[in-house]
């Protein structure tokens, strides 16, 4: 059968297709703008495959249902935006400690507080640095197109399971709300049955999933194990897209919608003969240190972070290159968007 696999979808809808094609069994969520289409299309599509959609009573309820589903050995996801993600953080810390995979989509909106529903990128700290308690990390994918919303949600399941940890798909209101054409990937044959699921008989005992380690030495051992895992991920999983970095004197760093605006500015600036490049992290944990440091070695003089926050990504850029080069900020906040002209002006100012 020849299928029409190319569809015009919203970013939010594409994430649901990516999840279903990756073999996600259960969706648990709570409506919130600008992420609601994820719950809506999950409500529409999951039952068609006899899969489960539950509109949870709260963000907290939703992420804890995810815990139950994953503990039972099934693939599960939830989605929200800024303030909803804040509410989920306790349970995400548990997921990290359980070493259980789960996929969480964050379609960022304006904050702090109730803020507004316009796009921002100010969840970076709470998502990338481990917004809950304890020293943990999550995998963080940063799609900048509807195609990537589908592909990276799909990939998030695979990588979350590979490393047994929660994975975020971190995007913004623009990417979530916009429609683009998507080439849908093939559905994977579902054969997931993790050994560690609750009740599985291991050495004659029904398996128990717990994050309690009463003895400090035991808890320290868990922490060391987690840190070793994160270190390995930082070594092997960095993911980035580079544009014109080879001869660049100024390199912009941006993800999500900001990276598309930066890419527009890049074409304009290159046409003017300005030697500017762009590094677009496709993941922000692990952070693309190699790409940034190699840009430093290749003679980049300055960096410019383009982001919709007071400056969150910029901290990781400075850390990654150990402040060897000046890093400047081009930003808007509160739901205002950057234009190509804004970014061009910021770059010209750096010359």
């Amino acid at each position: 059968m020849a299928y029409q696999k190319r569809m015009l979808l919203k970013g939010n809808e594409a994430a649901v297709y990516g999840a279903l094609l990756a073999g996600c069994d259960c969706y648990f969520g709570y409506p919130i703008t600008p992420a609601s289409e994820i719950a809506q299309s999950a409500a529409l599509l999951f039952p068609k495959l006899n899969r489960t959609f539950v509109q949870a009573e709260s963000e907290i309820g939703a992420i804890n249902m995810v815990i139950g589903c994953v503990a039972a050995g099934r693939r599960s996801m939830t989605a929200s935006s800024g303030l909803g993600i804040s509410l989920k953080q306790e349970a995400i810390s548990y997921l990290a400690a359980y070493e259980m995979p789960a996929v969480i989509v964050d379609v960022m909106r304006g904050g702090p507080g109730l803020g507004n529903i316009a796009p921002e990128q100010a969840d970076y700290f709470q998502v990338v640095k481990g917004g809950g308690h304890g020293s943990y990390r999550c995998l963080v994918f940063t799609p900048n197109s509807v195609q990537e919303m589908c592909d990276m949600t799909f990939q998030a399941f695979t990588m979350a399971e590979k490393y047994r940890m929660p994975a975020y798909v971190l995007t913004d209101g623009v990417i979530g709300q916009m429609m683009e054409s998507v080439e849908l990937p093939a559905a994977v044959k579902y054969d997931y049955d993790p050994e560690w699921k609750m009740g599985n008989i291991i050495n004659g005992e029904a398996n128990c999933i717990s994050s309690i380690y009463m003895e400090p030495n035991d808890l320290e051992a868990l922490n060391k194990k987690l840190q070793a895992k994160y270190k390995l991920i930082e070594e092997v999983e960095q993911s980035v897209e580079e544009f014109y970095v080879d001869d660049a004197e100024i390199v912009m760093v941006a993800y999500g919608i900001s990276s598309r605006v930066a890419q527009g500015a890049l074409e304009q600036l290159r046409a003017e003969g300005i030697k500017v490049g762009l590094i677009r992290p496709k993941m922000v944990f692990p952070f693309p240190r190699k790409s940034l440091n190699s840009a430093v070695e290749r003679g980049v003089k300055k960096f410019l972070c383009v982001e919709l926050s007071a400056g969150q990504l910029i901290e990781d850029v400075r850390l990654a290159i150990e402040c060897k080069r000046p890093v400047e900020l081009c930003n808007r906040m509160g739901g205002n968007l950057l234009t190509c002209d804004d970014v061009c002006a910021a770059v010209r100012n750096m010359i």
Partner: protein, 490 residues
């Protein structure tokens, strides 16, 4: 003479509690006189009795029973404080063949997790909840609980619980009884052998309901906590019998077990790739253009930036979606971006569409707009500053009054909404009228003949894709499209 152990350890318990840290591996961690041990034993016996150990999944709370997983040899997860019923929901939905027990204390269930608990009860999840009510927070050292009695002194109510500021004990069973879904609700106690026997019957019933997939069961166990209440075993039993029971009367609060039918297991999840694709994807059109098809008109050599603004209900957003869809089916890169949220709710609707052969940097159009369609004065005034000086403006002539415009701007007024409402009998197809106008305007502004015909075809395909299953809708929209073209010519 053969010896029969009548009250030995249930095989559902581990023989040795190896998960318990420290040297003590045979005894429970609970304090002397605590009720948890008795309840654990009743649950273990019931699970064994009904032969469901293999598929029993136990949700351990935060509180004294946080270490329940030391003892039971069935699937277990220790979860965030108060969230056991939400986790139980996840397990039960993921694996409907599992028998899920949520076990919670009074702080976990009736304070921090009351919402999760009530919502799971209201959904009628197929789980059994054991609720241990001992009138205080045991694990943290005897603080006030939602079930603490008026006047009762605890470490956080050192002067006694004051109902004027701290309210009254929470009657959990009675609150749950206000809901429709729960099947079985009973409150029991552990003070005497007779009470324990009654508790045993309730526990067995709760487990039987699980096995028979009857839905939501709640068993509240009024339980002694002599250590934190600073009482002897006798005193605590008297406290329960004479004081707690005034607020927490024992007995069956609801039992719809007999008249409730067992729930069938849901249909198995569809997982085979071929089946998934058959359901999620639509069949490929036989007449779709080849992957290397390109429209040849020179207007497509650069990005085409379109802004559409008007009123909600005029089909503004779907006009944009249709245009983007047509572009996609002709191998363009396309983007569609709506205004969303309060702006939308205020009645106005707006979207941006970009059609391009190249990668589209940002889908948001504030300036450099090539073509604008406005059906309200508000939309016109809001987005006009972004329209190029030589841009194309299509507007609804009955709703929009044009201000002074640059001479190079090409403007086309058509009474589209009115045409839809009067000629076609439905304002709903105003967007197809506008699409017809757009086709004619593009034809007048450089769309070559081959592409004009292709635009008609692309529209027909898009309409069929959208309305193919709705009788009459395709015809009406095609008629509207033709009416739009004709209106332009007039």
């Amino acid at each position: 003479m053969s010896e029969k152990v009548k009250f030995g350890r249930s095989p559902v318990f581990f023989e040795t509690f190896n998960r318990r840290p420290g040297p003590i591996k045979k005894n429970m961690h609970y304090c002397p006189g605590c009720g948890h041990g008795i309840l654990h034993k009743l649950i273990a016996e019931a699970v064994d009795h009904y032969g469901i150990q293999k598929n029993t999944k136990f949700i351990s709370p935060v509180g004294c029973a946080v270490f329940a997983y030391y003892y039971f040899n069935f699937g277990n997860i220790s979860v965030p404080h108060g969230r056991a019923p939400a986790v139980a929901t996840g397990v039960a939905r993921a694996n409907p063949e599992d028998y899920v027990i949520s076990y919670q204390g009074d702080g976990d269930l009736a304070a921090i997790g009351f919402n999760e608990f009530l919502q799971a009860a209201n959904r009628g999840e197929n789980i059994t909840v054991f609720f241990v009510n001992n009138s205080n927070y045991g694990m943290t050292g005897g603080q006030m609980a939602p079930t603490t009695l008026p006047g009762q002194k605890t470490t956080t109510s050192p002067y006694g619980r004051n109902p004027l500021t701290e309210g009254y004990p929470t009657p959990v069973c009675e609150i749950v009884n206000a809901l429709t879904a729960p099947v079985y609700i009973e409150r029991v106690a552990l003070t005497t052998p007779a009470r324990i026997a009654a508790a045993k019957r309730a526990v067995y019933k709760g487990i039987q309901n699980l096995k028979e997939r009857k839905g939501f069961s709640l068993i509240e166990v009024v339980s002694p906590c002599p250590v934190n209440l600073k009482m002897s075993a006798e005193q605590v039993n008297e406290f329960i019998e004479k004081q707690m029971m005034n607020y927490f009367p024992l007995g069956v609060v609801r039992d719809k077990t007999a008249e409730t039918e067992s729930r069938p297991l849901p249909a198995p999840v569809i997982r085979e790739s071929a089946d998934v694709e058959k359901i999620l994807f639509t069949e490929k059109r036989k007449d779709s253009v080849a992957a290397d098809f390109r429209n040849t008109s020179s207007m497509f050599d650069k990005e085409l930036r379109v802004k559409i603004g008007g009123f909600g209900g005029q089909g503004i957003l779907s006009l944009g979606v249709m245009l983007a869809n047509m572009g996609m089916h002709r191998n363009f890169n396309v983007s569609w971006m709506p205004s969303y949220g309060p702006e939308q709710r205020g009645g106005s609707a707006c979207c941006s569409v970009i059609v391009s052969r190249k990668m589209i940097p940002s889908p948001i159009l504030e300036s450099g707009i090539d073509l604008m369609i406005a059906t309200t004065q508000t939309a016109l005034e809001k987005y006009l500053p972004g329209l190029k000086e030589d841009g194309i403006l299509i507007y609804d002539s009955s709703a929009v009054k044009l201000p002074e415009l640059p001479a190079a701007m090409r403007t086309y007024g058509v009474d589209a909404i009115d045409i839809a409402a009067t000629q076609l009998g439905s304002a709903k197809c105003a967007n197809s009228v506008l699409m017809g106008v757009l086709a004619a305007v593009l034809a007048a502004n450089g769309l070559n003949e081959a592409d004009q015909a292709d635009f008609d075809r692309a529209f027909a395909e898009a309409v069929e894709e959208k309305f193919g299953k709705k009788p009459g809708a395709v015809e009406m929209n095609v008629k509207a499209y033709e009416a739009g073209k004709k209106a332009f010519q007039n």
